[in-house]
């Protein structure tokens, strides 16, 4: 395969799969933070952990 094809393969797969894994991890971290706050008995005004997009 030529370098441009390799670049496309890495770019498209990296973006789509990487994006999925990134948002999955963000969701898991957010859920873990929510559960730990709940177990500490703290209120959850806006859940916190906003990431601006």
């Amino acid at each position: 395969m030529n370098p441009v094809t390799w670049l496309m393969l890495v770019g498209v797969c990296g973006f789509v799969w990487g994006g999925f894994v990134y948002f999955l991890i963000r969701g898991m971290r957010s859920e873990a933070a929510k559960s730990s706050r709940e177990s500490e008995g703290k209120s959850d005004p806006l859940s916190g952990g906003h990431t601006e997009l």
């Binding site: 395969m1 030529n2 441009v4 094809t5 789509v16 999925f20 906003h50 997009l53």
Partner: protein, 475 residues
């Protein structure tokens, strides 16, 4: 209104159920064919762009509508966009329900082929002859019944039933498509498939058709604008996130499409590269039910991988069917029916109105064409309803409201207010301008049949909405 409060048990229940809705047969049998016939890498660029400027923005709208209104499509449009716009919600429900009628037939085909691959029938028989004898017989009606019974059986137990099934089927589906992709890329000659899939033909980026096909594919396979996400969002927690879930599902869905594209094209190029034009031009059913079994036959361990392929396809089809049944049932529940009563009506209607598609593949193609294109209009209606409610208000109060994990900026307001309507209208004008298949309303696959069936549906919905408003004034 006698709807008991139902809610997903966790965020992951909602995410997996919604992923199950989004990942359907369109990812596995349509995406590889479309990408192969539209310039490979060039198409992928346009496909990724539309994930970001069509699918995800509309998914955010759907989540926000469901979370805010806590009603099905008709009720949500009526409550958020105004009572005069209930017909738009009716259109969204009608499109998804009309698709459900024949989608159950497709799910039945997948079950039949799963059975045939497990019993070795597919390996023993010529796949083209098997497909012909299957579709010419009464068997599709029976498998349609099986698929419908499975779907009704799951939705019978409410969102917790849907959640339980999704928690098993969706992770399994992901594992199955990953196994298939790994097998496909390790076949001798598979790199030719990767080269075909990822080689960009830069000049084709100037071809409007590539962009329109990419938009259509995104609308089809992510389920954005179908009303299905809205329906599941009704059952999300009050402090549940909207935007991160939309991004997660959009990227998750397209990840499966990419894996399916790699699987199919690497298999085609490794096993029978000379026939690649014929294979990708064979249509959805031709590719899946005739060519794929033939290709698997020539692969070491092909029988096992063939069973895995049809198992993945069956899971994808059934989880999508479940969401369509839930959408239609929810619309009936909003007018006072109990869940199981509504579901029996929907299941009965699905069984009856799906029969013509089960017995005639031409009828199925006609319905697929008419209501598939109707999804563009559904997406447009979501954007227009959001504008009517106030896109900025929706962003402030719901999308970035309590429980939000990702702050969505004003870019989203611009996309929903301007770009999504422009995309939808451009696509609709393009369809009409093309006039594919002619204007004869009695032709099965022309523009005329689309306009005729849409026209009847829109007139009925508008009259119903008008009558509803008049009754409200009278009372």
């Amino acid at each position: 209104m006698s709807i008991e409060k139902e809610e997903f048990g966790s965020r992951w229940g909602l995410v997996l159920a919604t992923l199950g809705m989004a990942v359907g047969t369109g990812n596995i049998w349509r995406f590889p064919r479309i990408v192969a016939s539209n310039g490979g890498g060039s198409f992928l660029i346009a496909w990724v762009v539309f994930l970001l400027i069509w699918s995800i923005p509309l998914m955010i709208v759907e989540f926000a509508f469901g979370k805010r209104a806590r009603l099905g499509t008709v009720g949500a449009f009526s409550r958020l966009a105004g009572r005069g716009h209930a017909w738009m919600g009716g259109w969204v429900a009608l499109c998804a329900t009309a698709i459900m009628f024949y989608y159950s037939v497709v799910a039945g085909w997948c079950l039949r082929y799963l059975g045939a691959s497990l019993t070795g029938e597919l390996a023993r028989q010529d796949s083209a002859a098997l497909w012909q004898s299957f579709t010419d017989s009464w068997q599709p009606a029976f498998t349609h019944l099986l698929a419908m019974l499975f779907g009704v059986g799951v939705v019978w137990f409410g969102v917790r039933g849907i959640e339980r099934v999704a928690k098993v089927l969706i992770p399994t589906l992901f594992v199955l498509v990953i196994i298939l992709a790994i097998r496909a890329v390790t076949l001798p000659g598979a790199e030719r498939g990767l080269e075909f899939l990822f080689s960009p033909q830069w000049h084709r980026l100037g071809d409007v058709r590539i962009w329109l096909e990419a938009l259509t594919q995104n609308a089809w396979d992510t389920g954005a604008g179908w009303g299905l996400i809205l329906t599941y969002a009704i059952y999300m927690g009050v402090r549940e996130d909207v935007s991160l879930n939309a991004f997660l599902i959009g990227f998750g869905n397209n990840s499966v499409s990419l894996l399916a594209g790699i699987t199919v094209l690497c298999t085609v190029f490794a096993i029978n590269p000379a026939a690649q034009g014929q294979i990708v031009g064979a249509g959805n059913e031709g590719l899946t039910f005739i060519w794929m079994p033939q290709l698997f036959e020539h692969m070491a361990g092909g029988a096992v991988f063939m069973a895995i392929f049809f198992l993945a396809l069956s899971f994808a089809a059934l989880t999508s069917l479940i969401s369509m049944l839930e959408l239609a049932s929810r619309v009936l529940m909003d007018v006072g029916l109990k869940r199981r009563e509504a579901l029996l009506w929907v299941g009965g209607a699905g069984l009856a109105f799906g029969l013509p598609s089960a017995l005639s593949i031409d009828f199925l193609h006609n319905q697929d064409w008419v209501w598939g294109v109707g999804l563009m209009l559904s997406g447009l209606f979501f954007a227009l309803a959001a504008r009517r409610f106030g896109v900025e208000r929706l962003r402030r109060e719901v999308v970035n409201g309590p429980g939000s994990d990702l702050y969505v900026g004003r870019w989203w307001v611009g996309l929903i207010s301007v770009l999504v309507p422009v995309e939808a209208i451009t696509l609709m004008v393009w369809w009409l301008w093309q006039g594919r298949g002619g204007w004869n309303p009695l032709s099965a696959s022309g523009t005329g049949t689309v306009l005729l069936q849409w026209g009847i549906a829109l007139i009925v919905l508008l009259l119903w909405n008008l009558r509803r408003l008049e009754r409200e004034v009278e009372t």
